[in-house]
Symmetry: C2
Subunit: 326 residues, 2 copies
Amino acid sequence: MKEFTIIDSFFTKQNCQRKDVILPIGDDCAITQVPAGQQLAITTDTLVSGVHFPQDSSPEAIAHKSLAVSLSDLAAMGAEPAWINLSLSMPTGDPDWLARFSATLLAQCEYYSVQLIGGDTVQGPLVITITAHGFVPEKQAITRKGGKPGDLLYVTGCVGDAGLGLAIALDKHQAAAGNASYLRKRLDFPTPRVLAGNNLRRIASACIDISDGLLVDLQHILQGSGVGALLQLEHLPLSAELLAEVGQQQAIDLALTSGDDYELLFSVPQEQVTNLERSMLQCNVPVTCIGQLTGQTGKIQLQWNKQAYQLQRRGYQHFALEESVE
Amino acid sequence: MKEFTIIDSFFTKQNCQRKDVILPIGDDCAITQVPAGQQLAITTDTLVSGVHFPQDSSPEAIAHKSLAVSLSDLAAMGAEPAWINLSLSMPTGDPDWLARFSATLLAQCEYYSVQLIGGDTVQGPLVITITAHGFVPEKQAITRKGGKPGDLLYVTGCVGDAGLGLAIALDKHQAAAGNASYLRKRLDFPTPRVLAGNNLRRIASACIDISDGLLVDLQHILQGSGVGALLQLEHLPLSAELLAEVGQQQAIDLALTSGDDYELLFSVPQEQVTNLERSMLQCNVPVTCIGQLTGQTGKIQLQWNKQAYQLQRRGYQHFALEESVE
């Protein structure tokens, strides 16, 4: 028990001290203040060793990813990150591991102006849960429900990288050193698209982050908005590293079916396209139009240069960390 | 993965639908609204099977306790519960276990007018994390810092029961059937003192919930407030069941050193005592004055009928669930 009280000391030295945190870590609860005119976006994500990250992941990677997946959810709502609560269950209070984990977590918190306001450290299997809180102006949250037929469908960054990164982590793909480093980094150190998400308020009609795979996550928008989608796969943004390793066809399959990319997938009414382009240029986030929403509720049409495209359902898309767990 | 999507369906049928939840479960984040004039109290607690509850605990007990420990933290700040996020990691998606766990959790949520607004269900060892959110009027949160020498020290309900309940759960104490049932219930189904906590605003000068044991938790108030305490142990509220099982001396030791009672321990300025008594009578919560804060920072004096009392440091106080874990 004492050991786990000591653990807490690793999380007390924070550079980010927000004015809206009235009472920080150290009492039964934190006390916070939501600014007038703002609503509160709240999300919880749990990462289990061997399920959501490889068991040999570095403490830096685990800390980075734990925070990134929660901030990515805030980004997908257009919310600005504010506070997090951390639950850390770990078998032993290894001080080296804790120093590395907490240094990365708090550095990332500082980068995003996020304050750690509470949590719990307990003895148990390695499981990390973060509940993240963010602000979004009233009625400006971007849900999955606002997409309309005709809206253009966009994605930030590149897709498919984390899927091949996982295959590399599981020794199921041998990659050239430079590519392996890039792809594994995309798996272990995803970038939550916080700035992009904030700038999509009043521009995007619907938004989600790609955690389970582009097609699966697109279906959530289709169900939420009661629409269908046409994807023009020749426009899919694929990294040079991914293409160099597996070629175009497998790259497309990975981009469509593998998860963990944490890019934003969003729809934009045509009259907002100029605003979108200006806004994304301003925040320096690459976005690509990959298709359009349609009136065929729940249906996804895949096209390659206007011809129907058959998903191969082979290649790497069946890799999943879950398979490596008993 | 699909299995764990199905799990979510166990948590969707909620009777509690709050107006301050703008967007409930089902998107990347929940969107909520904190009422004007209110601050937000936030707390996270994690319970690991075999560490925080016996491995043979019923799903009802696990659900009840998971929520109770978080609501108890809100109560200790004087906050009114509003929303929770649930992270549930479990080895298999056993539908019977889930039905029982979710039924208890949601029934308790309804009882306290709490809405489940999000969370994560993942495959992994049995670990439950709840982040609870509550409201407290601006500047009325009860912290650990406001105690002053001369303030009277109170506790709600009885103390020590859960400690003996744990000894029973671990087969280290054989109790008469009726006593065993009561004591085990105090361990497995603690009552968070929500109503009492809310009514202590502007009456109590400092407050904490007893989770780690009366002396340990009292030290947090002493450190926070820069005071000491004198305990008059003849006033300690001990249940008839506890006294019947272990006698007065061991009962006192348990009351002072064993945790998990989730009663509130709080200090009250003498001029507020009348208000306190009226208020606690109104909300029907028994409270007992067990001593007084002193000017001797960090020092706890134990007295029995004005004579110095020597804590036995034997008996049941060394029992801890942690010992039963590898």
